[in-house]
């Protein structure tokens, strides 16, 4: 893959992939590493041809890399304390181009949502992020995570049940 094409993909999907990395890892250093490795893994594909949804393809790489890395993190039991991203930056940054619909969600609500999502076990959090943040269909999530559709539905159901309890003050 040439540099111009890579630049184009970073421009087009960088924010989406980086946001996903941040929310998945909850750690800026790990997120940057994961983000970087995602694009580099894409570069390594010798016979790269743009087919289908590139963002979906990139997220697939991110997930695989993270799942692989998680094993390492778990086994290595890192000594350095990892600061959760929510504490690190306080979730204050709103994008300049947020739309009207997003304005309807208050900062308090958004913080509560992220706080609740971060409390979810990773297996549930990743499904929630793909479904709500990346707008993946259940079948796409199943494919990306190598799970059955019923398993993804079950995870979504569990996660929603928990989030509903946590966010009961903010929803109908």
């Amino acid at each position: 893959m040439n540099k111009q094409l890579l630049e184009h993909y970073i421009e087009a999907y960088g924010t989406d992939i980086y946001s996903f990395c941040i929310r998945l890892t909850q750690n800026r250093e790990q997120a940057e590493e994961l983000y970087q490795d995602t694009f580099l893994a894409m570069c390594e594909k010798e016979d790269w041809k743009e087919e289908g949804n590139v963002k979906s393809y990139l997220l697939g790489i991110t997930i695989k890399l993270w799942q692989n890395r998680k094993r390492k993190f778990a086994w290595r039991k890192r000594i350095a304390a990892e600061i959760p991203i929510s504490k690190e930056q306080g979730l204050e940054a709103f994008s300049a181009d947020e739309n009207l619909e997003q304005h309807m969600v208050s900062k308090e609500e958004q913080e509560a949502v992220w706080k609740a999502v971060y409390k979810l076990p990773e297996q549930l959090r990743i499904v929630i992020l793909l479904y709500y943040m990346e707008d993946f269909k259940v079948a796409e999530i199943a494919e990306k995570l190598s799970l059955s559709i019923s398993n993804v539905k079950s995870k979504l159901m569990r996660a929603r049940r928990y989030l509903k309890q946590e966010l009961e003050d903010f929803i109908i």
């Binding site: 540099k3 890399l65 290595r76 943040m133 928990y162």
Partner: protein, 311 residues
């Protein structure tokens, strides 16, 4: 007016984190270097070698400089209770490991081709950098994968049979009944050990894995992992399964038995034995009578890997 949960999640979980220009520049620079020096050496491999390599890589458990787990340490471990209630757990959710079963059993597909597809995909996205060598006739192992991380050499082995690995490592789990009665290896037969250094004679982390099958209707999978990470905060949720219970083997080890029914009508049964620092999971997929399951559990000599039971 308050939104619905779906609306609140859709409108709150949005991508707003922008990567720094410096980070993007770093990627672009590294991508140029990678065109000259590929991360992985590409080799033409026979399909079976691909599968074995992938198995070695996929199961490559990584080593820290922490304690060494010799057979004596394994024997000293106590069993711990793990079944819990999801609702109660969620009220105090932490970073605890949760045992959900990832394979829902929608289809019980015994075809080897699916395994190959996944392993190739794994190779493409793995960040494994190292060498893979084949064992000689004097070795019990057939394949070895080495990787250097943080100055340590981490070594993973693939054995043709899981019993060879147990024999090599003085682990007393008895697979003779399973290997005699469920002879066909279903997926990548692999087990993998890691050492702090290549000269060490005891593993510091171990992951053992194998699957067997009889015909197209029965499969038995075994997974045994030892590490220095405590399992005391682990849970298996009752609600995640159709049924949960326990079974005490003839040698006195209590197994947590959970099961799910697949859409195909087959039952998937998991027998967990979790100790302070190790996990043993035996999975039965297909048509197994209760009696047949008990024969398998009793044949394993699980008391050899924990304190509980008759030694």
């Amino acid at each position: 007016m308050k939104p619905t949960l779906d609306d609140l999640l859709h409108n709150s979980l949005i991508a707003t984190d922008i990567p720094s220009e410096e980070l993007n520049e770093r990627i672009l620079n590294q991508s140029t270097q990678k065109e000259v020096v590929p991360m992985r050496k590409k080799e033409t491999k026979k399909p079976w070698k691909m599968a074995q390599t992938a198995a070695a890589v996929a199961l490559l458990v990584l080593v820290t400089g922490c304690g060494v787990y010799a057979a004596e340490r394994i024997l000293a471990q106590k069993q711990i209770a793990i079944i819990d209630n999801e609702t109660e757990f969620m009220e105090n959710v932490t970073e605890t490991t949760i045992h959900y079963e990832e394979f829902s059993g929608e289809n019980l597909d015994f075809a080897d081709s699916k395994v190959t597809d996944r392993t190739e995909e794994f190779i493409q996205t793995s960040d494994f950098v190292g060498t893979v060598t084949e064992g000689t006739k004097d070795d019990l192992w057939s394949l070895k994968a080495e990787e250097k991380i943080d100055g340590k050499i981490e070594v993973g082995y693939v054995y043709p049979k899981l019993s060879d690995a147990f024999k090599d490592q003085n682990i007393g789990i008895d697979l003779s009944y399973i290997e005699a009665n469920y002879p066909t290896l279903w997926s990548e037969k692999a087990c993998q050990l890691c050492y702090d250094s290549r000269d060490a004679d005891t593993f510091s982390r171990g992951a053992f894995f194998a699957s067997y099958r009889k015909g197209d209707s029965q499969a038995v999978s075994i997974q045994y992992e030892v590490s220095d990470i405590t399992n005391e905060d682990d849970y298996i949720f009752k609600e995640a399964y159709d049924s949960t219970g326990t079974y005490t083997t003839a040698d006195g080890v209590t197994l947590t038995i959970t099961s799910q029914t697949a859409d195909s009508g087959y039952t998937i049964t998991y027998a967990h034995m979790i100790t302070e620092y190790s996990d043993f999971v035996l999975t039965l997929r297909g048509d197994f009578s209760e009696e047949e399951s008990h024969v398998i559990y009793d044949s394993l000599n699980l008391s050899s890997i924990c304190e509980t039971g008759k030694q």
